[in-house]
Amino acid sequence: MHPEHPVQPIAFTHTVHLAKRMQCTTCHVGVSQGPDAQIPNVTFCMGCHMVIDTNNPEIKKIAAYQARGEDIPWVRVYNYSPSAHVRFNHAPHIRAGVACSTCHGDMTKQTTAERKVNLNMGFCVECHKQKRVSVDCDTCHF
């Protein structure tokens, strides 16, 4: 499994961005459309940071990535091991009104994302039972 406190190449702060009233979906655009929430690429970051806070050393790092033609090599925080043979799709959970914080913790209090919730099978099944949705094996294991 991936570390709970992964060291990211950029000390991105969720706290700061969310305090500016940005929505999760501003950056994670895939979350309501498909399986993967998506992390935007460096061009998207620089869309704002061309002008905002350009002297911040972390932002200079982002600008340097872009100048080299490289994307930011983010380290994954949440993932399943391939042997778990499980698939997760964000979009139906968002459609059903599940809050992002249910699985990812309160992001307004996190700088770089940390694994605050242990997403094991017990966690998923518990919630599926509470919400009276399918707990058939092949809902997730297919």
């Binding site: 655009v29 895939g30 459309q33 498909g34 399986p35 993967d36 998506q38 690429n41 460096v42 061009t43 872009q66 033609g69 490289e70 994307d71 930011i72 090599p73 380290v75 799709n89």
Partner: protein, 775 residues
């Protein structure tokens, strides 16, 4: 060291190594900024066209975001991009209606092949040494244009030669226009199995110089003379769909299918009745059947029909009822009994809709044209004069002036290659000084007697526009790699397989993985750079502009795309994967039923000539038949590992070559399954493992084409042997086509199974139930 310590230490080092490997593997490769924004995890199906044979099936490509390992600006790294994950047939396409063959599905491996040439390269060692160095596109294009301007400056533009696989559609148009405007001779279109004989025969018999389209779904009786129409011949996917409907699509009415051939093909294995006939006498057998029909007046209405009298007039003695072809006389020549012939004649004329087709080995004899005309005459006798139209017809040409090949068959491609090689070797003034290669590999696929290897070695400058190193492009001085088909604008004008006229068109399904450029764009760019007539003849910046200009006139024709504006039309054609005429068009049946006007000066009827073979029957006692396989075609898909590991349908052999030998012949020569044997002809010899197969005539040896590459990537090189390398340069005289089944060979055991490499997936054919135990 104690055992306990050893285990401890190895466990610890093992864990350390694993942990090390697990640590953020992404860090080893940089990530490039994605060039396109896609939603991960969502698949999109995009249209494309299959280019792995000439049938032109429509594709749909499943494209999803993925990580590709690529090189950008001289550095390796990962990039998120749309990647093709799966190929399926396009459901709307009139040819393949959602189906696709195994070779078509392997088109993915062309895109992701590890041996693809990923950037322009220039020869750095001796020619053919395989030493190349990477250069930039700017330098590569500069070098190409400097060679071309040098030719222009020395007033020897006619010393430019272009060698390519026969193409149809706008790629052909582009190359032709380029060569004409440059002042060079026409391209040498080369393909070893090019069907020139059948096109010529169809022109004489039916007035169409094309391969036929078969409406098998309506047939009640089909007799095929050597045509492997479910495997490799013509448009196999379209024919398989029709065949399925003929056999199982009409409850209570199952069409009968008879296959005449000397080596059982995949198609022959499907037949109700399999008839072995002496090589080169298939036409005689057809006329034997026709004799019974004519003499017993089994099809009284058809005999007088215009179609039958036209096709029949090609055969000497037809109007007199073919007196020389009595079943008894034909039995002596073909080895097929007179009773069988008579029965077939009765069955064919009594069943509802019957058809006779010809293809493959019968046409690759010195008397191939006669055999084809004979079968065509039988076809028009049994298949004419029906209200609903015949089973055999021809796909209408799309209503564009320059869509397909010219109506009259050009020279056979073997004749073209031969005269090209001879003109180079003659060394006279005006011989080719520069060769441009595209998707043709004659060094592998032409018999050595053409001396094409020597000819190509003599040409001072060779530029390849292909994606892979093969035997021929290995000789190149400069390679400007083409995009893979899935990365390219594609068009196709299928010659057959559809009852509607059809043009396939598709935009690139994925962005280019590597630093390659589409061949058409390279030529268009060079034309603009050279200016003058070339720039005037090809006034397009990119190939899609040329395609758009060519296809827009179709908007007025209605058909499958209804659009108010040109831009709408162009968009709809791309989404649909092409344009086709309305399915209700009566053109197919009426045009096919009505024989076209007889070409002038072609009235002479053809008399039987006996097939001639290279090598005497005493020195070389066996007929030799190379045959095409669904996996490899003429060998140009042998570099795809899925095709290498696909077991042959009848023998289950894979990853190798083999020769099929009748068990009786094997017993006579002491050859057992898997033994190493040597096959020798006048032109050369090769060694392959033996496969004992009851589905072959005892005096015939058959070998699959496609293996035996010396230099075609990691998956094809060094596997098996190439049967084309022992063919004598025998030709069918009226077309100059290679008679690839007219070489005789001898056979000897040279080693046991331990010296041969025969990989069988399963047991293969054990024997026919009605045969005496063969082994």
């Amino acid at each position: 060291m104690e055992r306990r310590n050893f285990i401890k230490i190895s466990a610890l080092t093992g864990v350390a190594a694993t942990l090390d490997a697990c640590r953020a593997p992404d860090k080893q490769l940089i990530r490039f900024i994605p060039e396109e924004n896609l939603i991960p995890g969502i698949a999109v199906w995009k249209p494309s066209i299959c280019t792995l044979c000439s049938a032109g099936c429509g594709l749909q490509v499943r494209v999803m975001q993925g990580d590709a390992e690529v090189e950008r600006h001289g550095e390796r790294g990962l990039i998120k991009m749309g990647l093709a994950k799966r190929l399926e047939g396009s459901p709307q396409n009139p040819i393949n209606a959602g189906k696709l063959c195994a070779r078509g599905q392997a088109g993915l491996q062309v895109l992701y092949h590890p041996d693809r040439i990923t950037k322009p390269i220039k020869r750095s060692g001796a020619r053919g040494s395989g030493q190349f160095q990477a250069i930039s596109w700017d330098d590569a294009l500069k070098e190409l244009t400097s060679h071309l301007t040098a030719l222009q400056a020395s007033r020897s533009a006619n010393a430019l030669a272009f060698l390519a696989r026969p193409l149809r559609g706008q790629r052909r148009e582009l190359i032709e226009k380029f060569l004409t405007a440059f002042g060079a001779p026409p391209a040498v279109w080369y393909e070893p199995f090019d069907e020139a004989v059948l096109r010529q025969a169809n022109l004489l018999s039916f007035g169409h110089a094309a391969l036929p389209t078969l409406d098998l779904a309506r047939a009640d009786y089909v007799i095929s003379f050597g045509a492997d129409f479910l495997g490799t011949w013509n448009s196999p996917v379209a024919q398989s769909i029709g065949y399925g409907a003929m056999r199982r699509g009409r409850p209570g009415r199952r069409g009968k299918f008879v296959q005449v051939e000397s080596r059982m093909s995949q198609t022959g294995a499907n037949a109700d009745e399999w008839i072995a006939c002496k090589p080169g006498t298939e036409g005689v057998l057809a006329l034997g059947i026709a004799h019974v029909i004519l003499s017993q007046k089994l099809a009284p209405q058809s005999i007088a029909s215009p179609a039958a009298s036209r096709a029949g007039s090609q055969i000497a003695g037809w109007s007199a009822g073919l007196p020389e072809f009595t079943p008894e006389a034909v039995e002596k020549q073909t080895g097929v009994s007179a009773a069988v012939m008579t029965r077939l004649a009765h069955e064919m004329t009594l069943s509802g809709a019957a058809a006779a087709i010809v293809g493959g080995a019968p046409l690759a004899q010195t008397n191939g044209l006669f055999s084809a005309l004979a079968v065509n005459a039988l076809e028009s006798l049994v298949d004419a004069n029906r209200d609903e139209g015949p089973i055999l017809g021809f796909t209408p040409e799309p209503p564009l002036s320059n869509a397909g090949e010219p109506a009259a068959p050009a020279q056979a491609s073997f004749a073209r290659l031969n005269s090209f090689a001879q003109s180079v070797l003659s060394g006279k003034a005006g011989t080719p000084q520069m060769l441009m290669l595209y998707d043709a590999n004659p060094i592998f696929s032409a018999p050595p007697a053409t001396k094409i290897r020597e000819a190509i070695a003599r040409i001072p400058t060779i530029v390849s526009l292909g994606s892979f190193i093969d035997e021929t492009s290995a000789q190149a001085d400069l390679i400007l790699p083409d995009n893979a088909p899935l990365e390219s604008w594609l068009d196709s004008v299928p010659e057959s397989g559809s009852f509607q006229s059809l043009i396939g068109l598709a935009p690139p399904a994925v962005s280019p993985l590597h630093e390659t450029r589409p061949m058409p764009d390279v030529l268009l760019g060079v034309a603009q750079h050279l200016g003058g007539d070339l720039a005037k003849a090809l006034p397009y910046a990119t190939f899609d502009a040329m395609l758009k200009a060519a296809l827009l006139p179709l908007r007025a024709q209605g058909g499958s795309v209804a659009a108010k504006t040109d831009d709408d039309f162009w968009q709809s054609v791309q989404t649909q994967g092409g344009w086709w005429s309305a399915p209700a068009a009566a053109g197919w049946k009426s045009a096919a039923a009505k024989p076209a006007a007889m070409p002038q000066g072609k009235q002479a009827s053809h008399a039987l000539t006996a097939p001639e073979f290279a090598g005497s029957a005493t020195d070389f006692p066996f007929y030799f038949q190379p045959y095409l396989t669904p996996s490899f075609g003429d060998g140009s898909t042998a570099h795809l590992p899925w095709m290498q590991e696909l077991p042959d349908a009848l023998t289950t052999a894979m990853w190798s070559s083999w020769v099929e030998i009748h068990p009786k012949t094997g017993a006579m020569l002491g050859i057992q399954q898997g033994d190493l044997v040597e096959i020798a002809s006048q032109a050369g010899s090769l060694r392959v493992p033996a496969v004992l197969s009851p589905g072959i005539a005892p005096d015939l040896l058959a070998m699959p084409v496609g293996q035996g590459h010396e230099n075609f990537g990691r998956f094809a090189s060094g596997h098996g042997a190439n049967p084309l390398s022992i063919l004598a340069p025998v030709v069918e005289p009226s077309t100059g086509s290679l008679a690839w089944a007219a070489t005789r060979v001898k056979l000897a055991r040279v080693g046991g199974p331990e010296q041969a490499k025969l990989v069988l997936f399963a047991g293969g054919m054990s024997g026919f139930p009605h045969d005496e135990k063969p082994r």
